[in-house]
């Protein structure tokens, strides 16, 4: 499994999560580093419906503490990696916590950097750090064309993309929640789709109960997933935990991406879900990163690549 691999000798290697084609009945495995298999998949001639998109998350503009006193610098580095991709992504997804304190000037600074990404479109969902004013600033900027607190869906080259908001109302135990209104909308949104339609969901907090003791999960996430159980391929991309975590359940692959700002401890392996303060400066970039997904139109599934900023290549 790809795990939070900071400090390990493997940290500079790219992690590669490979979704196997439907022909092998939804079996999915993960491979560390660049194997010959991974190379073969990457170098394959792109078919008409193949495309790439990039996920960035937890940019935390406005954070000023250890271990990263200026996350704008590492955010810029992440953008440089996107702009250097040999195959430009069709779009970028930001899965929330753009800002640290939901301040207008933090949203401004984030927007200024996001403008420099050479991509046609960026899709957004908010994180709880973007909702400290009950989502007013976020919705003013990113609410257009969305429903409720910012949820939305779109189709791209035969894939159905769904952006869910699970941070507008946290539970008293700190978990995310979608709420009945959003679940009703989701049910309607997917019911007209054939079960062979590949689905890619993106949201801020993990939809599964990754570590509820730290609020790392969504109280009604299972209900959302059950609405998508009949589909042959469902990929859920999340942030929030500032590290790579995966859950694979039948045809569903759930994956969390690294932050571009600061790392957090592995579930239960620190005093709490806050920033890891004591990261040596030369280690920081191995714990930050972004995620690229290559959608393979022939296999009807996405291959997910995580790269650390230290790799200098996405």
């Amino acid at each position: 499994m790809t795990r939070n691999d900071y400090g390990s000798k493997g940290m500079n290697r790219r992690t590669f999560l490979k979704g196997v084609s439907l022909a092998t009945a939804g079996v999915i495995w993960t491979v560390r580093g660049r194997s010959s298999f991974a190379l073969a998949a990457e170098d394959a001639q792109p078919a008409a419906r193949d495309f790439t998109f990039v996920q960035i998350t937890d940019t935390h503009v406005g954070f000023k503490q250890d271990p990263n006193k200026d996350p704008l610098v590492t955010f810029r580095e992440a953008i440089a990696e996107i702009n250097a991709l040999p195959t430009p992504p069709d779009f970028v997804i930001h899965t929330g916590d753009q800002t640290h304190l939901s301040k207008a000037e933090e949203f401004d600074a984030a927007a200024e950097l996001l403008k420099s990404i050479k991509v046609k479109e960026i899709f957004y969902v908010p994180g709880e750090h973007d909702e400290l004013d009950d989502g007013q600033e976020y919705l003013k900027r990113y609410g257009k064309g969305t429903i409720g607190t910012g949820w939305h869906s779109h189709d791209h080259k035969g894939v159905h993309f769904i952006g869910l908001v699970n941070v507008a109302k946290l539970t008293s135990t700190g978990l995310g929640s979608l709420g009945q209104e959003q679940l009703d909308w989701l049910k309607k949104d997917v019911e007209h789709l054939g079960s062979s339609t590949p689905i890619i969901v993106y949201t801020h907090m993990p939809l599964w109960m990754l570590y509820p003791q730290w609020g790392w999960g969504t109280v009604d996430g299972e209900q959302a997933l059950s609405l998508m159980k009949r589909f042959n391929s469902v990929t859920v991309l999340q942030g929030h935990v500032h590290q790579i975590q995966n859950k694979i359940d039948g045809s569903m692959t759930l994956h969390t991406a690294r932050s571009t700002a600061y790392p957090q401890a592995e579930p239960g392996k620190g005093p709490g879900p806050g920033p890891i303060k004591d990261v040596p400066p030369d280690k920081l970039r191995s714990m930050l990163g972004l995620t690229r997904a290559n959608y393979n139109g022939k296999k009807h599934s996405a291959d997910i690549f995580d790269s650390a900023l230290a790799d200098k290549k996405l």
Binding site: D5, R32, H100, L132, L170, S172, P275
Partner: protein
């Protein structure tokens, strides 16, 4: 015949490389685990100091926010007391009254928030970013 041997060689090579890959994964995982254990021990040690300071610094009308906790979690004051919350954590927090009687702005590290309690009663509050963090002020 030549082609046949060629195939066998490829199959053998693939088989060998998967074995190597599995072994490598095991090694990397072992390296990960031992290293994270070390770094977490260091992390805990680094956290021990601020917690002690927090306990020492808390006065009769002060609540310290550190390591995802309000300390003390329950504070008793007399009517007319102004209580001050100080965020000593690396993470941002808020102080939100459960009954909407008071609400801080988002509090960055070292930010303070104060509220004067003018009437007796029990005032529960939580952090909007991490609602599992709870505290209360008892005003007598």
């Amino acid at each position: 015949m030549r082609l046949h041997w060629h195939k066998i060689v490829i199959i053998a090579a693939l088989g060998l490389s998967s074995i190597l890959l599995v072994q490598w994964n095991k090694l990397s995982t072992a390296a990960d685990m031992s290293h994270s254990a070390e770094s977490m021990a260091a992390h805990r040690a680094a956290h021990a100091a601020p917690v002690q300071t927090a306990e020492k610094a808390a006065t009769a009308n002060e609540v310290i926010i550190d390591n995802f906790d309000f300390t003390p979690a329950s504070l008793t004051v007399s009517v007319g007391t102004t209580v001050t919350w100080t965020n000593r954590d690396n993470e941002a927090h808020t102080v939100n009254s459960t009954n909407d009687l008071f609400k801080s702005s988002p509090m960055d590290t070292n930010d303070k928030f104060s509220f004067e309690f003018k009437a007796p009663g029990t005032y529960p509050y939580y952090c909007k970013l991490h609602p599992q963090m709870k505290g209360q002020i008892l005003v007598k």
